[in-house]
């Protein structure tokens, strides 16, 4: 074992190396590590915030959906009521219309019947007259009734 210049050389090398490490290495690497740690902490905080925001939004959306559902239910109810009203009204109108139509038809039929009756009556009269004429024509024999016919003709 002997101590020599190597000792001094190593001491100088160590001082220089440690100084270099302190000046040019440690702060940079430590800075990067600490910056990343801060970024990660910020990121985690942001994620936490995002999560709570999401939960809040979810609650809000659920409330909105419930409200919308309630409103939709009301609208449907209203529509149903209105529809049954309309149906009801239409039925009533239809009933009225039916009665009116029936009335009209009935009076028309009455008129037709009357007219037919009149026609029939006229026809019957004509037929009766014609029948009577025929009967009369056969009954009246020129030889039997000539005198009367002559008289008639004379009167005419």
């Amino acid at each position: 074992m002997n101590f020599n210049l190597t000792f001094i050389g190593q001491t100088i090398a160590m001082i220089v190396f440690v100084w270099f490490c302190m000046k040019y290495i440690w702060p940079f690497i430590m800075g990067a590590i600490e910056a990343r740690q801060n970024e990660i902490a910020d990121g985690l905080a942001a994620a936490e915030r995002g999560r709570s925001d999401l939960a809040k939004a979810k609650g809000e959306s659920e409330q909105l959906i419930a409200e919308a559902r309630e409103r939709a239910r009301l609208i449907v109810d209203q529509a149903n009521t209105r529809a049954s009203e309309i149906v009801e009204q239409a039925r009533a109108e239809g009933e009225q219309e039916k009665v009116r139509q029936l009335e009209g038809a009935r009076s028309e039929i009455e008129v037709e019947i009357n007219r037919a009756r009149d026609d029939l009556r006229a026809e019957v009269v004509a037929i009766a007259v014609a029948g009577a004429e025929k009967l009369l024509a056969r009954e009246i024999d020129a030889s039997d009734h000539g005198e009367m016919l002559d008289r008639l003709a004379a009167e005419l």
Partner: protein
């Protein structure tokens, strides 16, 4: 440079081991560059272990280059795979620092990162089969090459003493010179401050100072010797295994797998103790 026969047959086992444990040294003697024949005592400032120095420097520079490239392009957005890996490492070191040290200090964390990665990389050289780099160096005309810088006490002591200087510096900066002195002399046995017993105070102070001084000085010593000893022993075992011929393969594999744990652990211990010592230096609530 002197040429030596490298054939395994021409070498005795102890030559082989010694060769692997010898640093490539250069020194300046009488105005000439001399390689590997330096008269080295315990302290000889004209000698340089070229291999330890170059490998340690290259590993440190490579580590800084890689990390710098990532740091320059570091994005706080989606990181690439390399950035993720390096951030993992940086985060690990940062976590270790924050566990042990509550105060505010801009130096400790980068220092810990540098120490951890650098020591780990230097230890990692231990996992390269022991003959590869020395044989390659020999083929290139370099006589000796000790590959693992942390098996060189120069390297480990340089690092631990740098940490020690920082410990002293922050102790004085945070506690003041008086506070630091007080910490060394007034604990663990509080000297009497009144009555007749006050004459014994200097003994208390001296005793405390010896205790605290030893505990203070043992910090850098244990820090560097632990790393050095572990790595040196591990390297030695690799060398011994390499002597076994064909049987070395399974043994080498087993020891290498175990050693992965050791080198990581040693780098981690060096880093953690650095943090602990520096955090003690900042600790005013004594």
């Amino acid at each position: 440079m002197e040429e030596e026969a490298h054939g395994a047959g021409a070498q005795s086992a102890s030559d082989y081991i010694n060769h692997h444990l010898t640093n490539l040294q250069v020194c300046r003697i009488d105005g000439e560059w001399v390689w590997n024949h330096c008269e080295a005592g315990l302290f000889s400032l004209n000698v340089l272990n070229v291999d330890s120095m170059v490998i340690a420097f290259l590993l440190g520079a490579g580590f800084l280059y890689l990390f710098r490239r990532v740091a320059k392009n570091a994005t706080s957005g989606r990181p690439g795979k390399l950035q993720t890996a390096i951030e993992l490492l940086v985060g690990f070191v940062d976590g270790s620092v924050k566990d042990a040290f509550q105060g505010h200090n801009k130096v400790i964390a980068p220092l810990s990162l540098t120490i951890f990665v650098w020591v780990f990389l230097m230890n990692l050289m231990d996992l390269i089969p022991v003959d590869w780099l020395p044989e390659a160096a020999a083929a290139a005309g370099v006589e000796y090459l000790k590959v693992v810088p942390t098996t060189d006490p120069n390297i480990t002591f340089a690092m631990s003493l740098s940490v020690f200087v920082l410990v002293i510096y922050y102790s004085i900066k945070i506690k003041g010179f008086g506070g630091f002195t007080k910490e060394l002399t007034m604990h663990p046995f509080t000297p009497p401050t009144r009555g007749i017993g006050i004459v014994t105070a200097p003994f208390f102070i001296a005793f405390n100072f010896i205790l605290e001084g030893v505990s203070l000085l043992s910090k850098p010593l244990s820090l560097s010797l632990r790393l050095f000893g572990n790595m040196y022993a591990g390297e030695l075992i690799f060398i011994l295994i390499a002597l076994l011929g064909l049987y070395q393969l399974p043994l080498h594999f087993g020891w290498a797998v175990f050693h992965i744990l050791v080198i990581t652990l040693q780098a981690f211990i060096f880093m953690v103790l650095t943090i602990v010592y520096l955090s003690q230096a900042h600790d005013t609530g004594h």
